[in-house]
């Protein structure tokens, strides 16, 4: 077992454990902090795959901006845990069972797929994840979607202000 495999399994276990802790935490602030741990683990996976630009963007956008936005909203609302209503245990059980069925069906599907056998992911090599190549592709082939996304951001900004405004 070499270093990459050890890192892969460590990051996977960390991400799955943190994701479960997101679900079972009573306090929403703790959920946000566990979700930040998940995002750090996924950024570690990106670094293992030599997708350096996406690793940094994941940290900045998700762990930096989006999670801080979640924290702001949670702290703005002043939620306390005892105001949460009684939860239906059967509904919870049904949700877990249906999610487990989904996981089971897809795992068995992947296990049977012939096209995926013997395919390996190239780790820590390859230069398509570097910002030089990604930027070149982004501003030549993907320049129209890039410009359209700026319009999307403008509309999201206007929409957030209009929705959040007190009228």
């Amino acid at each position: 077992m070499n270093t990459i495999q050890v890192l892969f399994f460590f990051l996977s276990v960390l991400a799955i454990f943190s994701a479960i802790m997101v679900l079972v935490s009573k306090n929403p602030v703790h959920s946000v902090l566990w979700l930040i741990t998940v995002f750090f683990a996924i950024s570690g996976h990106y670094i293992l795959l030599n997708a350096q630009f996406l690793a940094i963007v994941n940290l900045i956008v998700y762990a930096g901006a989006i999670m801080v936005l979640f924290l702001f909203v949670i702290m703005l609302m002043n939620l306390n845990a005892d105001t949460a209503p009684r939860k239906n245990l059967w509904m919870k059980l049904a949700g877990v069972i249906s999610g487990g069925c989904f996981l089971m069906v897809l795992v068995s599907l992947v296990r049977q797929t012939v096209e995926l056998t013997g395919k390996t992911v190239m780790m820590k090599e390859g230069n398509i994840g570097l910002i030089r190549n990604l930027g070149k592709a982004l501003f030549t082939d993907f320049v129209i979607p890039f410009e359209i996304s700026s319009v999307l951001f403008l509309s999201a900004m206007v929409g957030a202000v209009v929705i959040g405004k007190k009228d």
């Binding site: 997101v22 679900l23 795959l49 979640f70 877990v96 999610g99 999201a156 929705i163």
Partner: protein
């Protein structure tokens, strides 16, 4: 690293997100689980892009096959950022109207 490991890992993360959406009542946690599912898909896209790049690299050392997957992840992140801002504004407005973020109070559009 075989591609199956990445698929199983991302499926586990995605299923945890689905279970969270189905079981939790807090609207903010439901929203966070949606983000978790988006991240699982992002990681899988990057893994598949590296898989195709590694396969194509043997024939042509200067190829950029598979760069589309990583740009797709970039655009998913862009859309997710816009979606989160609007969604959190909606949750704040809902809290202002009902003084709760419980999604059970949202079962009707009227009032």
């Amino acid at each position: 690293m075989p591609i199956q490991y990445y698929i199983y890992f991302c499926l586990a993360l995605f299923s945890i997100g689905i279970i969270g959406v189905l079981t939790r009542k807090n609207a903010i946690i439901v929203f966070m689980c949606v983000e978790l599912m988006l991240n699982a898909v992002n990681l899988l896209l990057v893994a598949f892009s590296k898989m195709h790049h590694g396969a194509a690299l043997a024939g042509n050392p200067a190829t950029t096959v598979g760069i589309d997957g990583q740009l797709f992840v970039f655009f998913i992140m862009v859309v997710a950022a816009a979606e989160v801002s609007v969604g959190l504004a909606i949750i704040v407005m809902m809290y202002r109207n009902t003084h709760s973020v419980d999604i059970n109070f949202l079962n009707r559009l009227k009032n």
